[in-house]
């Protein structure tokens, strides 16, 4: 019905501009994985783009979750029906780089005879999607992980609600206090366990895979079963035994327990902030990810997705796609995107604008993630994040290893070794093909 109305509107518009605009209109398609409240923001942005660009018709299609969108893109590319633009999650980055199906975005302005200022993007974000200093896909929805905590429960347990834990030692200490005081049965949980595991490596400047985290040549071996990884998983397993840590399932299921007040701390994507604030009837606090003392500093990794441009489009289509990518970098659009979704604004002037209007001081929680990525280092491959061909599967293996360790089925070392062996086999097969 909505479609019908939009079509009617478009028809009216076409009628009024009969002949001129109609003849020249370039149609481009964008497949994305944004649903729910995010979809509304995407639709608003697309509508505005179409309204301000009468010679372009951008059709944005939600094609399912990230994995489904990528699968459909691959299938469509094989039969030559791929969309002009596609959103791919961060774990699909290497797949896209190796696909031969895309035009790197850094080349587009040159192809169109334009100049573009790449320095206007927020550096830790572009770093993630860059190879040899060049940006291959356009950062779109970027987030990272942080620690959420329930200030009311902290107070109840006799903890200072304005002093969240900064280290894992403190997490353990506070957690025990929360549990022993009977305020909660468990203190901490997290979403995306595999991703949080990866975060710990980058956050402490530890390599996750060889060949400089797969950023200088394709990774052949994962390193996550080394001493650091074992230490991380041993800590989590201990916390689970002490009832401090409650394993919360693969994606967002842990949010339920946090919003329901059954746990007091949650490590989760920063993009959950808006939803959690809306759902919680207590004061939500946020802070940086907890650190392991005695390890070097790195940075938290970017998650989310970026936009890839399909190869082999006509020059008109490519120009239209590029118009849209430029549109996304417009200050007001980036601000709108951030406010509507909680994802990082990707351009510096949007950050400046948000600072100027006092957005961050209104809600400190939106600032936490920013400070976290800006305060970390960005000059090492370890801190920038890992790149793996069969990353989707490897992240699942990490998750399975964590599940097996915290449930006591295997020791942390056994679980990680098993996962690493499988991951290396996947890498070998991937490298054989590519």
């Amino acid at each position: 019905m909505k479609q019908g109305m939009r079509f009617g509107l478009a028809a009216l518009l076409a009628l009024s501009l009969f002949g001129t605009a109609l003849a020249k209109k370039v149609e481009i398609t964008w497949w994305h994985a944004m649903s729910g409240s995010r979809l509304k923001v995407v639709e608003a942005i697309v509508d505005e783009f179409n309204a301000t660009h009468p010679d372009i018709q951008l059709n944005a299609l939600y094609t399912g979750k990230y994995a489904e969108t990528l699968t459909k893109y691959v299938a469509a590319y094989r039969t030559g029906t791929a969309p002009n633009l596609v959103q791919v999650y961060e774990v699909g980055t290497q797949t896209m780089l190796d696909s031969g199906a895309i035009v790197p975005v850094y080349k587009i302005p040159g192809m169109l005879g334009e100049e573009w200022d790449w320095a206007q993007y927020v550096i830790p974000i572009t770093n993630y999607y860059s190879t040899d200093g060049n940006l291959w896909s356009m950062p779109f929805n970027s987030s990272t992980a942080m620690l959420y905590y329930n200030k009311d429960l902290f107070k109840k347990a006799g903890l200072d609600p304005n002093k969240p834990p900064r280290t894992w030692k403190e997490v353990e200490e506070y957690g025990k206090k929360l549990v022993n005081s009977g305020v909660v049965d468990h203190a901490l949980s997290f979403g995306w366990p595999g991703w949080v595991f990866e975060q710990m490596f980058a956050y402490h400047n530890q390599l996750f895979a060889d060949h400089a985290n797969g950023r200088k040549g394709r990774a052949e071996k994962v390193l996550f079963n080394g001493p650091f990884g074992q230490m991380v998983l041993e800590t989590w397993t201990r916390l689970a035994k002490e009832k401090v840590f409650l394993y919360g399932g693969p994606e967002y299921s842990a949010n339920t327990a946090f919003v329901g007040g059954q746990i007091a701390m949650l490590i989760q994507s920063t993009s959950s902030l808006a939803g959690i604030t809306k759902g919680a009837d207590f004061q939500v606090g946020t802070t940086f990810l907890p650190r392991f003392e005695g390890y070097p500093r790195g940075n938290s990794v970017i998650g989310g997705g970026s936009l890839w441009v399909t190869k082999g489009q006509s020059k008109e289509e490519l120009a239209a796609v590029w118009e849209f990518l430029k549109f996304l970098a417009r200050e007001d659009v980036a601000v709108q995107w951030h406010k509507g979704t909680g994802y990082f604004p990707t351009v510096n002037n949007a950050v400046q604008a948000l600072l100027n209007e006092g957005w961050f001081s209104k809600d400190q929680n939106y600032l936490t993630a920013f400070l976290q990525i800006l305060s970390g280092r960005r000059d090492t491959p370890a801190a920038t994040g890992v790149r793996l061909g069969p990353f989707v599967q490897i992240r699942e293996l990490e998750r399975a290893a964590i599940e097996k360790a915290v449930s006591g089925k295997l020791t942390p070392k056994q679980a990680l070794d098993e996962a690493a062996a499988k991951a290396n086999q996947l890498l070998a097969q991937y490298n054989k093909l590519h």
């Binding site: 299609l61 299921s253 959690i276």
Partner: protein, 275 residues
């Protein structure tokens, strides 16, 4: 009280208990669909309805665009049920009323459907849809489902019980085979048709995996996938109240079909079990 009445009272009690236990999960879902977000997270859980049913229903309807999904699921289920019934009737007619070369082989071939459910050919079938440019169309959602072993078997068994005198009489009256088929055989099969309709409608309405992979646009999605989106769409705590309102929407049509046709359904199945 005689032993017999006591026994039958006991049976009634047991049956009522079973009805309650089996229906309870759905009752609880219904209750949840009437609560507000906070009430749905209330501890201890609530077992009595609240007042938010309509607003949850509205929210679910709008959020997952259920209007369109409802239409799609209905069209797909009706079309597949209808075509399956027609194709099965035709094939069963051939296998029961004619002798022709290769009939045994062809019959065996059509029995193979049961051994080749979607998952054993999922990737190539998907690629086939892609090659036909059927991805994201009603064709992909319906055509691959048109063959039915159950249908052919059901009608074959029934046609074999139809007395030969009927067809002979029709022939004497100068009716051709197709006229006999449409005017006598099909009307006689009413009950079986209704039973098969119930089975196939519910089967199609429940489809999940195939619609998940062959549809892209919001306009082509089906109710079951809408439900999945309702759950996965928000990254916060699941809004059980809204999700359950969505489940109510997803439950109604097949339930209506089953209840409306319950007599024929039961009879049709009974006939099939007869040997």
């Amino acid at each position: 009280m005689s032993r017999h009445t006591r026994l039958s009272l006991l049976t009634h009690a047991a049956l009522i208990a079973l009805v309650v236990v089996l229906a309870f999960p759905v009752y609880y879902a219904l209750v949840t669909s009437t609560l507000s977000f906070r009430e749905a997270y209330q501890y201890p859980p609530r077992l009595l309805p609240g007042t938010e049913f309509l607003s949850n229903l509205h929210e679910a309807w709008v959020r997952a665009s259920f209007g369109r999904l409802f239409f799609n699921s209905t069209v797909i289920s009706l079309v597949v049920a209808f075509v399956k019934i027609v194709l099965s009737l035709l094939a069963a007619f051939a296998y029961t009323h004619f002798r022709f070369r290769g009939a045994g082989f062809l019959f065996a071939l059509s029995m193979i459907t049961q051994m080749l459910p979607l998952p054993v050919r999922i990737l190539p079938t998907y690629e086939l849809m892609d090659a036909f440019h059927w991805i994201d169309t009603y064709y992909a959602l319906t055509v691959p489902f048109f063959a039915s072993t159950t249908g052919i078997l059901l009608f074959r068994q029934f046609f074999l019980t139809v007395p030969r005198e009927l067809s002979d009489a029709a022939r004497v009256d100068g009716a051709g085979p197709m006229r006999y088929f449409w005017q006598i055989l099909v009307p006689l099969s009413r009950t079986n048709i209704a039973a098969l309709f119930v089975i196939e409608f519910i089967f199609m309405w429940s489809q999940y995996l195939w619609p998940l992979i062959v549809t892209n646009s919001a306009d082509m999605r089906v109710v079951q996938i809408g439900l999945k989106m309702l759950i996965a769409s928000e990254q916060i705590a699941p809004e059980w109240n809204v999700i359950m309102a969505g489940t109510v929407i997803a439950m109604v049509p097949p339930l209506v079909v089953l209840i409306a046709l319950r007599r024929s359904f039961a009879q049709g199945i009974a006939m099939q079990s007869e040997k």
